[in-house]
């Protein structure tokens, strides 16, 4: 009988425990929701003040403020340093404490999250297209690009080649990528923002070579992708495939990521600059709807503006992004080689256009793999 008793305690315990947990779940859920939504609840008055923002004078010692910066994958180190610098600057200027929380992930997915309700004060993504998508839902102004200097892109990057030590296949330029026996590693342009830059750079090169004959350009791109043995879903996957798995002769990568992998993985690899590449402009924007409801517009705008200061530009350069300030760029000219760069707006008619033509369903990228479209 004692055995039955001891056994019968089991489910009681289990049930009580689960009920208790269930209750705390609701409790903590609410708490979390409250604290997460404190922007909404606690700042309900702030919302009103924000409406007549200009009129309100800044009271002397302000409460600490929190910003959320939703960014893409390899920018964490950049923003860790930058956030610390900005917090100090803001404290000196206004006496207010500011903490910037960070969120990193694939650029497209991050954009989806912000659309879905992630309360980002600022977004710093890989492609203008991903910010356009947020603007389309009315979360920020459609002319966000004009809000800050240089198309709202405070730092730039470009696409380069990473090859194995000594460059055994002698890869110098895009035309070498379509040769027989050369294996090219790039992520899938459909799932990776970075890969879209790769694709467009190759397209732009071919277009220039072929004098605008689109059939020839398509042929070039098709040949290039026939040399691609593995299409990883993201840039990091491709880097692993190339560096760790030893597959492929050349990796198409963002310049900053090529530097990063060199730093992380030693000097088994070399960076090769092609004759022509593309200007990758990772843009930044303030999410109007969020900052207005949280009452953080002022600090959020200042945060992004700070990226353009000498200090911000240096931090970007130290993290392998090309500074746009010519003076700072001059200081780093040994790191960043000068080369001819295509521009998305000038040469491809902007992201919306490029997306539709190349990467949407039935676009030029799909044509490569559609059977019978040879």
């Amino acid at each position: 009988m004692s055995k039955r008793n001891s056994l019968s305690k089991w489910p009681v315990l289990l049930l009580t425990a689960s009920l208790a947990l269930g209750l705390t779940a609701c409790g903590s859920g609410n708490n979390a929701a409250n604290s997460a939504g404190s922007g909404g609840a606690a700042n309900a008055p702030a919302e009103n003040t924000a409406a007549n923002a200009g009129a309100t004078e800044a009271p002397a010692p302000k409460d600490p403020v929190e910003l959320l910066n939703v960014s893409y994958d390899p920018t964490r180190e950049l923003y860790v340093s930058f956030n610390a610098a900005f917090a100090k600057y803001w404290k000196d200027k206004t006496g207010q404490e500011v903490t910037v929380k960070q969120s990193h992930g694939g650029s497209g997915k991050q954009s989806l999250s912000v659309i879905g309700g992630l309360k980002a004060d600022v977004v710093t993504l890989a492609l203008g297209y991903d910010i356009d998508a947020i603007a389309e839902k009315g979360l920020l102004n459609k002319d966000w690009k004009g809000k800050f200097e240089d198309n709202s892109a405070p730092y730039t990057s470009t696409i380069v080649f990473l090859v194995r030590k000594g460059n055994p296949k002698g890869i110098k330029d895009w035309s070498d990528l379509v040769k027989d026996g050369v294996q090219v590693i790039t992520p899938n342009p459909k799932t990776s923002g970075g890969a879209r830059w790769n694709y467009l750079a190759a397209w732009g090169y071919a277009q220039k070579q072929d004098g605008g004959d689109e059939a020839k350009t398509k042929e070039f791109i098709k040949k290039l992708f026939q040399n691609v043995p593995v299409l990883d879903s993201g840039a990091r996957g491709s880097t692993t495939t190339f560096t760790e798995r030893g597959i492929g002769d050349v990796l198409l990568a963002w310049e900053n990521e090529a530097f990063l992998s060199q730093k992380e993985l030693g000097d088994k690899f070399e960076i090769v600059y092609p004759s022509l590449s593309i200007l990758a402009e990772p843009p930044v924007a303030v999410v109007d709807k969020v900052v207005d409801s949280k009452g953080t517009r002022e600090v959020a705008e200042e945060y992004l503006k700070y990226l353009y200061t000498d200090e911000g530009q240096k931090i970007a350069a130290d993290n392998f992004y090309r500074p746009i300030n010519p003076d700072i760029a001059a200081q780093y000219k040994d790191t960043f080689k000068d080369l001819e760069l295509l521009q998305i707006d000038k040469d491809f008619g902007g992201w919306a256009e490029a997306q539709k033509k190349h990467f949407a369903d039935g676009g030029t990228f799909d044509e490569i793999y559609t059977p019978g479209s040879k």
């Binding site: 039955r4 001891s6 089991w10 609410n30 990193h104 880097t239």
Partner: protein, 296 residues
């Protein structure tokens, strides 16, 4: 009386030392089968496991340990444990109710119900997360209503818990249903005929019979809850130190070219899984001992 049934049942459990009786195989077959099992598990499971530790330790213990005590890793661990602590018990209660329903009664639509219970297994994790975004997100069906009330479900712990609950939903039920079906309903019916009430029948007759299955279910549910990545990744928002679970932390480190730290964090997840398994073995061992005491 009910206790008597339970005891007599557990006596019939196969004793471990049955080897050599006519109901076992010749030694050669036995070792062949063991060999196959070991080889299979080594190729499919053990090697990846070793890889994770090897990669984690590539840069030495210092990097490994500092990856584990990193504040972001610690808060990710806490969130992961919290989520499991909510999702697993709730799914357990559901699992027990559902398996009782399906194993003990016969009714129309049972196959349909069973298939619906299985469904979360077949939903791509990405979609599992996405549908909660469709439901609770700012553009979602309930999002605006929640937003007016200042409630945040997705991109906050409640959304992560919901996504985890969905993904681990069938585990306990699925573990118990075949077991309870195999056992039939005679014992419970006997107890009921003798006048035992519902919960009492469950506790004294059913539970002793299903406790191993239940334990397996719990362990699996827990392991999966802690390891879930795809669904959680969609609803988490990836806010560092706040809505990152351990698997998300692993991915983020990986994407940041911090290879070793990433695998170190992954190995932590596996240690957690091994810990739950250890707890399971302990319960098994204790119960076996007590049974021996009772019977001896």
């Amino acid at each position: 009386m009910a206790g008597g049934i339970a005891t007599s049942r557990s006596v019939r459990k196969p004793a471990p030392a049955d080897i050599g009786r006519p109901t076992s195989e010749p030694a050669a077959v036995r070792w062949l089968l063991i060999g196959i099992a070991v080889l299979f598990l080594t190729l499919i499971v053990l090697l990846p496991l070793i890889t994770v530790f090897v990669e984690g330790l590539k840069r030495g213990w210092e990097v490994y340990l500092s990856a584990l005590i990193d504040p972001d890793a610690v808060s990710a661990l806490k969130l992961t444990l919290l989520v499991a602590a909510i999702a697993v018990p709730l799914n357990t209660v559901f699992g027990i109710a559902a398996s009782w329903l399906i194993a003990k009664f016969s009714f129309r639509g049972k196959s349909l119900l069973l298939s619906l219970i299985d469904l979360p297994f077949s939903v791509s994790p990405v979609i599992a997360g996405f549908m909660f975004l469709l439901l609770f997100g700012a553009q979602g069906y309930l999002g605006p209503w929640l937003d007016e009330r200042g409630l945040q479900v997705v991109f906050a712990p409640p959304g992560i818990v919901l996504a985890t609950m969905f993904v681990t939903f069938p585990f306990v039920a699925r573990e118990l249903i075949p077991l309870m079906q195999a056992q039939g309903i005679q014992e419970e019916e006997a107890a009921a005929t003798l006048g035992a009430k519902g919960f009492r029948i469950f506790w004294s007759v059913t539970l002793p019979n299903i406790k191993w299955g239940l334990l397996y279910g719990l362990v699996l549910c827990n392991a999966r809850a802690m390891g879930e990545f795809g669904a959680v990744s969609v609803v988490s928002g990836h806010i560092r130190g706040e809505t990152n679970t351990l698997p998300l932390h692993v991915e983020i480190l990986y994407n940041e070219y911090q290879f070793s730290a990433s695998f170190a964090a992954a190995s932590l997840l596996m240690l957690l899984a091994l810990l739950t398994l250890g707890a399971k073995s302990l319960v098994e061992w204790k119960t076996a001992q007590r049974n021996q005491d009772l019977e001896g």
